[in-house]
């Protein structure tokens, strides 16, 4: 294994929200993982699992309720204002909703140029050139700079959002469900663009999505989240070949495959019930109520998130004594 440089370290990250007077929504409850330079780390899970909150907390958009985020050795969570500002230039985000992520009153050129303006990187003609360069980088035309967001399709708007994020030359980009709102063939366009940009510019991605097939395709490693906890983390190949956590197994089994023969022959693992609420969660493993392998200790103690095989982390009592 070549020596991999750690770009982002997430240590025991917690993000809680107060709901009403007594309830606490534990959106993210103790995450531990690293992101290596140049890789794409995928983060999957269903609604309420906390993956979006995780992405935004890592970026510092939400102040963490506990734990820390360390970027290139500098503790961002407890850092100075200057550290936080430097981090802003290195770490950017792409949003899910192409219709809400662009200010409808600004031209595309100004939207892309906002980062340049805030940090005063270029002025005048240089700024214009840079904006044109970014537009072409994402597959759009120079003429589009004077147009408004409503004139573009969803896929094109996502590309504008990508251009905006790239304008200040970040190293690390959090992709927060960037393709969920797009049509299938457009999803492929955007994903291809992201893969291409990663190769050209040496970017590192945290790719958050609920479509496991797409995440597996673009990610080097994948983390599976459930109700604020990470239940499994490994390379995307291993996740598919040998999912260890019962939730991961159920998730993989639920994904429909566009091939009638395979669909006919599949044996589905059907999960009973619904995803419970992350407000005031019960002690013990969060997945226990729906898990068919549940044991008594699952309802009382939180399983430890540990490396049970090389590069393969799981949080499950089934692997306690192996």
């Amino acid at each position: 294994m070549e020596e991999k440089e750690v770009l982002v370290e997430v240590k025991d990250l917690k993000k809680y929200f107060k709901v009403g007077r007594k309830s606490i929504l534990k959106a993210v409850d103790g995450l531990n993982f690293n992101i290596y330079k140049g890789e794409t780390l995928g983060l999957v899970g269903e609604s309420g699992c906390g993956k979006t909150t995780c992405g935004r907390t890592v970026l510092g958009m939400y102040p963490a309720s506990g734990g820390e985020v360390i970027y290139r050795g500098i503790n961002i969570s407890k850092g100075s204002e200057k550290d936080k500002r430097d981090f802003t230039r290195k770490a950017q985000i792409i949003f899910q909703d192409p219709y809400a992520s662009l200010d409808p009153r600004m031209t595309v050129g100004d939207i892309i140029g906002e980062g340049i303006d805030i940090h005063s990187i270029y002025q005048g003609q240089e700024r214009t050139n840079r904006i044109f360069e970014l537009l072409e980088l994402v597959g759009l035309n120079k003429e589009h700079a004077s147009r408004f967001p409503h004139e573009f399709s969803g896929g094109q708007r996502q590309r504008i959002g990508i251009a905006r994020a790239l304008a200040i030359e970040p190293e690390f980009i959090v992709c927060d469900e960037p393709i969920s709102a797009l049509d299938v063939s457009i999803q492929a366009q955007v994903v291809n663009l992201l893969i291409d940009l990663q190769r050209r510019l040496g970017l590192t991605y945290l790719f958050i999505a609920h479509d496991l097939s797409m995440v597996k395709h673009i990610s080097d490693r994948v983390g599976v989240m459930y109700l604020g906890k990470m239940v499994e983390l490994t390379t995307s190949a291993k996740l598919y070949e040998k999912p260890l956590h019962p939730y991961t197994q159920a998730l993989l089994s639920a994904i429909p495959i566009p091939d009638p023969e395979i669909e006919r022959q599949r044996k589905r693992i059907m999960l009973e019930g619904e995803v419970p609420s992350p407000i005031n969660p019960h002690p013990g493993c969060r997945f226990a109520p729906r898990c068919k392998y549940a044991m008594p200790e699952c309802s009382t103690t939180d399983p430890e998130f540990k490396e049970v095989e090389p590069e393969h982390f799981v949080a499950c009592h089934l692997f306690n004594n192996k």
Binding site: T88, F95, A100
Partner: protein, 305 residues
């Protein structure tokens, strides 16, 4: 059946450049809003009526050779005629001139009052909405206290204490009126604050001032315009009402409300002195309201087809 030429069956694929071009004309937000407004006949008629009224208020008095205070005892309470287009009042003053002079006062109160309210309300609501939390809570409690005081009481008390006049009237009306727009702006600011494009700006490192000026404000202007078009007639009416109570503009200066007040006194014998200013006031207010409705529809992004 079209005859098919074999040449037309060679594979040529697609043109990449053409793919990303946009066929519809470049149309900005305001142009699009204006276009939608133009289609709304009612709103356009209202706009034209308002423009006519405003022009008349400016040039009306100049059109007539009568001075608005000139009293002509030979022509008391005359009904409309060629000499006096709107007739005369009980002191022989030409009502045409007085109506438009009065209109200036009413419109002045309407526009200036609205503007003052707007500035105070926007600042207050903007700050409360943007910063949220304890700041917002405190500011909203203050508003609730102010809003719970019966505004008429405040206005009347102020007018009894301060020297009567147009500016006092404006102050009195604004003192409790700004609360409405403050709440509206606060709500809008809070809503925009949570939209992705504001988050994106924050992620890029934008400071609060930049977000408020470049993102929040332009997206609230539509709302502000609509509110203004509803607020101006409200001011005009309030002034008319207060003048009706005798608390408004004092003679010889006049306003539509004052005219209605005096007209009401001689209503049975000389109805034209009441009817004319009332009709003009009513038409103006209606026009503002209808224009406001039209503006709201034209500016609402959700109604775009």
């Amino acid at each position: 059946m079209v005859s098919l030429n074999k040449d037309k069956f060679k594979i040529i694929g697609y043109d990449e450049k053409e793919l990303e071009s946009i066929s519809r004309p470049n149309i900005g937000y305001w142009q699009d809003a204006w276009r939608r407004l133009k289609k709304n006949k009612v709103a356009m008629i209202s706009l034209i009526i308002l423009i006519i009224v405003i022009i008349m208020c400016f040039i009306g008095p100049a059109l007539s050779h009568y001075d608005f205070t000139a009293q002509d005892y030979d022509f008391l309470d005359k009904t409309p005629s060629f000499a006096h287009l709107f007739g005369t009042d009980n002191l022989g003053r030409d009502l045409f001139v007085r109506t438009w002079k009065g209109g200036r006062v009413s419109l002045y109160i309407g526009f200036v009052g609205t503007l003052v309210e707007l500035i105070v309300g926007c600042l207050y609501g903007g700050i409360a909405g943007y910063f949220g939390g304890k700041v917002d809570m405190l500011m909203m409690r203050v508003i609730e206290v102010i809003a719970s005081v019966p505004y008429l009481l405040v206005v009347i008390l102020l007018l009894l204490v301060l020297p009567k006049g147009v500016n006092t009237l404006i102050i009195a009306l604004c003192i409790t009126g700004w609360v409405g727009i403050a709440r509206l702006i606060r709500g809008q600011v809070m809503q925009i604050k949570s939209l992705d494009y504001v988050l994106a700006a924050k992620a890029l490192g934008a400071k609060p001032m930049r977000i408020i000026l470049k993102h929040e404000l332009p997206n609230t202007i539509g709302l502000i315009l609509v509110y203004m078009s509803m607020d101006i007639p409200a001011f005009i009416f309030d002034e008319a009402f207060l003048s009706f109570l005798g608390l408004g503009v004092q003679p010889p200066a006049t306003s539509w409300g004052a005219l209605i007040f005096t007209g009401q006194g001689v209503m049975t014998n000389h109805p034209h002195e009441l009817i004319i200013p009332t009709v003009i006031l009513a038409i103006t207010m209606l026009a503002f309201n209808l224009l406001g409705d039209g503006l709201r529809d034209a500016l609402d992004p959700k109604l775009r087809q």
